[in-house]
Symmetry: C2
């Protein structure tokens, strides 16, 4: 756990056995992480950004799940600002991740030769090398732009207002009277509702189809309107968002349910859906690159192979999620307390 922020430690905290006390403690830990990340920026910018993203997300998620314990207008405003920040910080990370994923896939598809266009193994290998260069150019540009936007944001009044808000988070948390109740009976039902929302979102997924290996569902419509893939992926992305909220909700109640094995399984389920999103993003980036004017047919061909390869990864991630979900989808609180 991170150290509490010194500012918040100076003010009287709510008793740690109350729901509000547990929530304030959790928010204080992540506010301290947030401030530590700001100080870290001069030393290691990438690590600092990753830390900022993680704490912004956790604070926002906790305020969402346990919203009933705080002033709703206040929580909604702060969450809106944290969402803006998280989205900004995530963008650069996502483009970097797409490039790394697509480069690795091209390497595998070209059997290690794509990295060396001079090898001259014929037009297909040249196409693969050119596709790699095109993706690198496009995604590096996008990442650089996202990075500039992040740096610009760090200098903005809006960002400084968020940072000030976070610094005072634990000490000035506008708790409602209900937050004075005992931690377990107040917090656990709210965590249970987060789990319930995840279960409902997952119930909308075609898990029985995804359970059959090589069902080819994720490539269905790969050559149709690009929006078709987004539409097909959307319910999975919704479950990913709920899984993240649920995971962070469980982190708040972790002191009440220490070492709940369910948290690990939930993390594995969420990881599968992260992989789903990453592969869907990468497939989409390959499809976008293929629409670049004046590319050669060999380059377009390689991008087509890459697109289908990443849609197969999307399908594999759904299959993996389905297998993990079988063991996660038990009622709460059994879900978090079962051995």
């Amino acid at each position: 756990m991170a150290q509490r922020h010194p500012d918040s430690a100076r003010l009287p905290a709510p008793p740690e056995t109350t729901a509000g006390g547990v929530l304030a403690g959790h928010l204080g830990d992540h506010a301290a992480e947030f401030l530590r990340a700001l100080r870290l920026r001069g030393e290691d910018e990438q690590a600092a950004i990753a830390l900022l993203r993680g704490s912004a997300r956790r604070i926002s998620a906790a305020l969402h799940t346990y919203e009933a314990l705080v002033d709703p207008g206040w929580a909604e405003t702060l969450r809106g600002e944290l969402r803006w920040l998280s989205t900004l910080l995530a963008r650069e990370h996502r483009y970097g991740g797409q490039l790394a994923r697509l480069t690795a896939a091209l390497h595998r598809l070209a059997d290690g030769d794509a990295a060396d266009p001079a090898a001259g193994r014929g037009p297909v290998a040249v196409g693969a090398a050119r596709a790699g260069a095109l993706l690198e150019r496009q995604l590096t540009l996008a990442r650089t732009r996202a990075h500039s936007a992040t740096l610009q944001a760090f200098g903005s009044a809006r960002f400084h207002a968020v940072a000030d808000h976070v610094a005072l988070l634990a000490s000035e948390l506008p708790l409602v009277p209900a937050a004075g109740g005992p931690a377990g009976p107040v917090l656990l039902p709210l965590a249970e509702r987060a789990h319930q929302r995840l279960t409902e979102a997952a119930a909308a997924l075609p898990l029985s189809a995804a359970g059959r290996a090589y069902n080819a569902h994720a490539t269905h419509g790969a050559l149709a309107d690009p929006a078709a893939a987004d539409q097909q992926d959307a319910p999975w992305h919704r479950v990913r968002a709920q899984a993240r909220l649920c995971r962070y909700a469980l982190e708040v109640v972790d002191p009440l349910l220490p070492g709940a094995p369910e948290a690990n399984r939930l993390h594995a389920a969420w990881r599968a859906l992260e992989r789903h999103r990453e592969a869907a993003d990468a497939a989409s980036a390959a499809a976008t690159a293929a629409r670049t004017p004046r590319i050669t047919p060999a380059t377009a061909y390689a991008l087509g192979v890459l697109h289908a390869d990443q849609r197969a990864e999307v399908e594999a991630a759904r299959h993996a999620f389905g297998r993990i979900w079988q063991s996660v989808a038990v009622p709460f609180p059994e879900a978090v307390t079962a051995p």
Copy 2:
């Protein structure tokens, strides 16, 4: 069972309880099929060709597995001629199968829109439609050429010599003295050797990797030298050939082991490897089409997607074979006699 050819019925047949008798009966049945197919040609050419192919393959396979019972030089000569005929007859069928498979895949990938280029759903859909038209043109041409070659062969002296040879097959079978032994003890060890050869070929396959769903092995090197795929597929094709020989070997001893359930499982294993070959062929046809000069990038892109899609089918077929093989790979004769 087909009727015996009238010519062969007129000559004294070896006793049906001897190995030679059972083999001669089996060969006579398929020789009769072969001759029936020749008569059918005027009515239904496609059905006739399929029938000819099936009987030529079965006769050839029986002469291979049970070669020890017949004059070896004679068997080798006839098998060479039947191989020539089977290869010729298979070619047209393969191109037709490739076109049907690729058209269905394009339809699925384009979500039903590829069939209608006029729908004008953007450059990707147009690329899919053009890829479909290109494949149809190339594969129809290849099939037409194969068909002409088949028709020319039917009029050749070589084909007439094969047909004459087959007509006299059962009646003039040059059995060796060992063929006079009792059917079971002579034939079953030879069938067992066919099963053994299949088991040995399958032992060379990377079945443990194929058993993991979505292992991405079949797309490894999809953008490298086209020969890389052939090299990776070759051991699977060898097992397919052995599975077919084993399947036909069991048909000969079917009167001795009636209703062996293993034959069905062996058939399922062989079907998975047939699908493997069909998908590998289709992927290769898509890759070949992508090397057509002057195609548009959108067409090349669609062919790339199609290529990777069919390589994923190759992987799926290996996975399916692996699952079936677990239940087939038991020692012979348990393999054919187990309940």
